[in-house]
Symmetry: D3
Subunit: 341 residues, 6 copies
């Protein structure tokens, strides 16, 4: 591990906290009589992961003003996330149901989020000036501005203030075609927000979506696409991508690749043959990037993020509950899973 600095800067994340409800034992919902639940959401997952890596992190969101919202807040507290900027409002918490697949059977997700407490957030309700006062990083994902006008405006306001404060902005512009129902075009919004960001955690798919381009997915395509993104959005300095091979629901391979603005980098591929939970693996990767950027050179950032991503597949729930030591062990090639006593 090559350390660059020792201070761990405070990270602020913004996004919806959803309750996930899923049957165990690969049951279909109609075979179940009870459901496990977890609290997750792409940006909150990044926050939780960072908290476990020892980083100070604050999450900004709305939850419901009822015992469901209180449970969400308690879960965030348990993760070690600063919840002082979480507001309670009179709309229900967002929910998603998950049926977990296996082998060639896909997992299926059904959302109930379009009228949630988060979807009803307003820019005025968030005191960005105060929240971002002592922040070093601000992380957002493309799902939030896709949910509602309020979420979009709130995020935009945050990013503008982050720019003023010279906070590093990272983004996972995850595109979801089945959102974006509130009247704005995804390209317009994402382009605007990417211009307020400097680290892009995404790949050819996301770039093609934003640039309405058609780059290839191979190494060359990734490099060309990355350069085009930087040309179109010069605020972006670095691009970190994650390449997944889904052999089956239960068998996944991942490696990271990056365009640093100067050169192409790639991590080794890691293989998980016995996936415990596929959800949140991209968020674990993003958290690895965010952590790495503070301490490592770019190659190690990639290796660290990819190992974190692989390890997430072995934890149930949306969040990646791994320490820096556990991630570094996998970076160092120890993947034999020997018992630790």
């Amino acid at each position: 591990m090559k350390t660059k600095k020792s201070h761990k800067g405070k990270v602020v994340t913004f996004g919806e906290v959803l309750m996930r409800l899923s049957p165990t034992e690969n049951r279909k919902l109609q075979q179940a009589s009870n459901l496990d639940f977890f609290f997750g959401g792409t940006e909150m997952n990044v926050a939780a992961s960072l908290a476990y890596l020892g980083v100070e992190v604050q999450h900004v969101t709305n939850v419901s003003k009822d015992f469901v919202g209180e449970s969400a807040i308690a879960a965030l507290r348990k993760f070690g996330i600063d919840v002082s900027a979480v507001k309670k409002v009179d709309h229900p918490l967002g929910i998603y149901f998950l049926e977990v697949g296996s082998a060639m059977r896909s997992s299926q997700i059904s959302y109930n989020r379009l009228h949630s407490s988060f979807a009803n957030i307003t820019a005025e309700s968030v005191d960005w000036e105060n929240i971002l006062e002592d922040a070093d990083y601000f992380h957002w994902a493309g799902i939030s501005p896709a949910v509602s006008e309020g979420a979009y405006q709130t995020l935009k306001r945050g990013l503008e203030i982050a720019r003023e404060k010279k906070i590093t902005v990272t983004t996972d512009p995850a595109y979801r075609s089945n959102l974006w129902n509130y009247g704005r075009k995804s390209n317009d919004v994402l382009s605007e927000l990417i211009d307020l960001s400097s680290v892009f955690i995404g790949g050819v798919n996301e770039i093609n979506e934003i640039l309405e381009s058609d780059y290839a997915f191979d190494e060359e395509g990734f490099v060309v696409a990355s350069k085009a993104l930087i040309t179109a959005h010069p605020s972006i300095k670095k691009i970190f991508d994650k390449v997944r091979t889904s052999v089956s629901s239960s068998w996944q391979k991942v490696y990271g690749r990056a365009w640093t603005g100067e050169k192409y980098l790639q991590s080794e591929e890691l293989e998980v043959r016995d996936v415990v939970d596929r959800i949140g693996t991209g968020d674990a990767y993003a958290a690895g990037i965010l952590y790495g950027l503070q301490f490592f050179d770019d190659q190690h950032v990639l290796n660290f993020a990819n190992a974190a991503c692989a390890l997430k597949h072995t934890h149930v729930g949306d969040a990646n509950l791994v320490s820096v030591e556990e991630v570094e062990e996998v970076v160092n090639g120890n993947v034999s899973g020997r018992i630790k006593r």
Copy 2:
């Protein structure tokens, strides 16, 4: 038991199907990691109960076009309810969370239903003519028209066609002050719909709400209120009320009383000291009335409905899974709970 006739007529019910999610062992949601779930909803509970009593029953509603909605339909099929008029639409299924209290601690419910598949129902989407073709009874509750304009219009259309077809209409005008957010006044709507109904399953509270009156809750108050209701809404012929004493979350007493248009009747009080589940007990009572009206004289209707209501307290979930024989045993005073081998 004094039987009046032997034919069991088909009943049609209309209302939302909600997924109920609750922790076990009296846990607060934030203490739980999994949740039991059941499908319920006041009118669906009546339908399920009637199906277990051996009555042919069809439920009219919207569910979500996803695996959650499919599970709701499967649950209704399991109860033995005709689901051929259930539609799947692109809105999520309504949900409620329940924390179960004990002793002086209240149970708490939090709803997520205002933008549900049912709230988005439209009068045009329901083929009432066909559905009510061979029906003998139509049952509705005051919650449905409180949810949305669509639900109100759909119900009104159904009641108008029921009147044309001379179908007996029963109503449980359950008033919920925290609904009625879509712009109409509850009195106006309920008054209109009660004019299309003939059996009123409610008491002084509900009458006071509808008539904007202030009758007392004692026997005399009930009789006077009932007469006033009939005067104001002459389509109503009979009124069946349920009087509950809530000693604590775990200890309840109930008895039934009625104004038959001619005289006051009252059942014995039944006591449940070890409540298993408080939800749906009013629906069990309504189902008892609906069943009884087909077979019994009014006194026995009351006794039967009250026994059904008491028995519901001993079953987990929203629906009352009891047979006619089990109810009659309690009517006959056998409340000792001896093991049956």
Copy 3:
């Protein structure tokens, strides 16, 4: 406590081991997706209880030659019962399903035992001479000879050898009208077997069944009936009865009474308002009698058995897992349930 002697004699019990399957949370079977299971059976319950009271006890039965039978044997071993006389045969283990009631709702039991491994037992397959070699007590219940000709013959042979060996024979002649399907009349069989027994653990109901009499259930009736039983079956020396008041499924009261051949005795009544499990409470009483007969005067035998019976209501499963100390505490009036640290 008044101790008579200090040696604890070996007890032999004979009867079916059944697997009990029941949903939790008072669910009906059709609401459940999994079932708790226990191994029980009236005589085995007596054996298990005696083992926990520190008595050497051996159980004689047949189980299935498969992993179900192996599990039954493992369960008996866990109780501390000597299983060296348990045979494995090519017939399935007997099973019963239990739906647990509450308040006025009865528990329901459904059996699957008529073609079980125990029903197929034969007198030749049991080496009674060897088993009873060092026994001091032999306990049987009226259910066993009600199951099949083989069970009847096997039991009769055991009782005959017990008589030869001058072993004290106790019986709980529990009458079950829905058994006795194999061709013999219950009176004939029970009368014959009672003539081989000396302690009768039953009351007016059972005596009326055997003598085809009609004695009353009050104290006087009990005394007269007891005397009549002894007249008809002079091998019987003492009669221990248990009087239960079933207020509801969840609320039970019990007291013991006895005819010692010379006088009437009665214990105090104990009340269990929060029944955990009703099954096996009679067997806990019988085990208390069997234990008490070895150590106590008749009044203390009654008190001890009644306290054991009451305590069984607080344990889930068929067997009473209490120590002598725990029973004696209740005998001594400590029923406040203070935490023991």
Copy 4:
């Protein structure tokens, strides 16, 4: 997909409904304290699968007249199976226990079915004329006539009436050597019943059993055996076989092959490395054949049935809860298990 017609014909199935009881987490029964349960049975599994594929299907059987039988009926209703021809009788429902293996450890099954409600079925109790009135297909398996004389006679009577009504009869002649205890020779019975059938869902093993032959298991052997079967039983028009490679309890491969009467066909092999549940996979295949015969050419029938069979390995329980769309996706080569949102 090459569709032949658009009408989905009604299918009638006949066979035992068993309750399956199994510990979770690969536990042995003696390590467990509770058991998951499902209702299954080879022909009922076919019925359930067809119902999920959108086919109208009615199941003919006996269940117990108790809450266990009621639960079985409720489960069938939940699957969407027509239960109007299910009778309740005074014999217990059949049961089987399952210990689930892993890797080189085999799963083990122990049955309790020889005196079940189904084993006690009688030909007179089934109104085949009425049941088969509007049926297009009748499906049976070799297990039913192996259980009891009554089951055999009932099935034979049904097949004779099916022939009269020119209903297509499909059979899965699954041979089970540990049944056939009631006095008839399996060859005699199966030969007789196959002469009343036209589609044979089985392979060299089953043909060898019926013809008392010794054909090889390779492609050539299968073709020769198929021809010999058709020669001996000219009512059989097509033969659909399933070839399984059991690498371990947790890793299975399957492909389908057929003799259409004119040519040999074969599907691609599908591999399931993470088996969730091995039970009922053959029934899923049979259901795929039955569905496919109504809509597809023979090659697509094979592909569809094989994909359905593979998908069954990913669902817990005996029944295959997949839609036509899910099966077709696998037929089209999408086996990567990507999350569907």
Copy 5:
């Protein structure tokens, strides 16, 4: 409610965090195959309760340097307790096992704490100066100095600094005879520490233990004993006692009484007939006192603490998860447990 002031002062608590492990369904440990777990400990329970009442609270303790200790810390964070003064050391976390009784059957507890991470705490390892810097209250219980010399010395040092800082010290001198094994006499130690405290949350039992006196338990005895305590330990200003009637394990009654230094006060008695969890009810009372002292007159302090105590009986786990509003409702006599929607 009569409020005295509006500022909620920070509370510091000191004591062991134990993992509680208990079977569900009133099972004995040997009947169970899994255990529910909670983190508790008398002072931590007070802290958790205060956090739910909205008070800033910090807990001082040692946990194990392993994933068990990390889980304990996460649990405290979830409660909302400040964990910045929790140290991780190379000794295991304390544990206790609990078998939950019912009716006349006592709950039983078995501890494993004598060599725990907390027992190994040292006065030097705690930075009391810093921790108590901004504290308004310091709460300790008699269990901590009973565990080990280190715990005693650490507590004493904290109390001395609290005195210097003029922090209000409250104590629950809970006496446990089966601790105090490390060489000191309980009277000596408790007397010394009480001299550093000003609010005594205990009654005649505790006073008799400390003063080696023999006062009666009635009202007069309590007043006399209280006066004697104040005479002997003049730092004590007020005494708050809790009087419990244990009808059975499942049925408890409690009321509070106090000697304010000037007069005797008493709350109404509250009755819990359906106890969910008996553990931590005294800690809930203490937390109620600590909360009340900041806001209420003494009578309301008593009422509030007693209502909090009663409500704890309805929550599973060691901590009392109630809000101020819920407690006040019970204070105001609303004990009917009506559902809140």
Copy 6:
């Protein structure tokens, strides 16, 4: 299988019984709310495995004098282990927590055993003369003398008496660097105890530890190390090693190898791609050796032990619940896991 003799000799084992507590579903402890538990411990696991193989086996240990210790004894009884030499003492039972990994994530174990009931055992408390009276084998592992002086002295005394009685002593000298805290050097103690043993179940690692040597791990290194061990400790006659390849937490390969004093032997390698439980696999191997030594030639001993070890990976819990028949099937190459009906 080549049988040498038919008598199964009694085996005595000595060592700690620990309660294992672990979350299910690969959860981290802090994600769980309940824990599965099992009783295990390396020597007890050998005993349990031998009992399931049909060998008479007695275990010598201390447990706690509370309901935890009683549960441990009941668990041993259930396994079929003779518990007559188990003592109850006033120290808590040893415990370990297990977080189960997957893929590259390691399982983690945290112990609480240094002040346990077993660590407090004394040589005087064990009646070795009587226990070993009719024993043929005595098995010990290197963990026991690493725990405490008392455990070391107790074991040494047992081994000395075993030598006097000419009992075959087998040892698994499992070295655990994080034990040995009580003051003795591991080499000294293990060397002394190995001189009292004749079968060494360990490999190059263990030999290097004992001889402070540095032999290579390949075949040649194993043979040279074995010879050196025998030279240094001539009481050792045979050495049985187990070679494991840990591909990941979920994928393990094992084979056995031996130095018989005369020649090198090796079994085939067995592969478990779907590990259910990794704990106790070495103990299953040791039990296979102990069983095999009584019946087989050395090559079959190796094959049998390795197959037993592989099968353990498919059972949850610490003990290997397999029969001789199941092991022999795997020895014979049947690893396809076909369902057994």
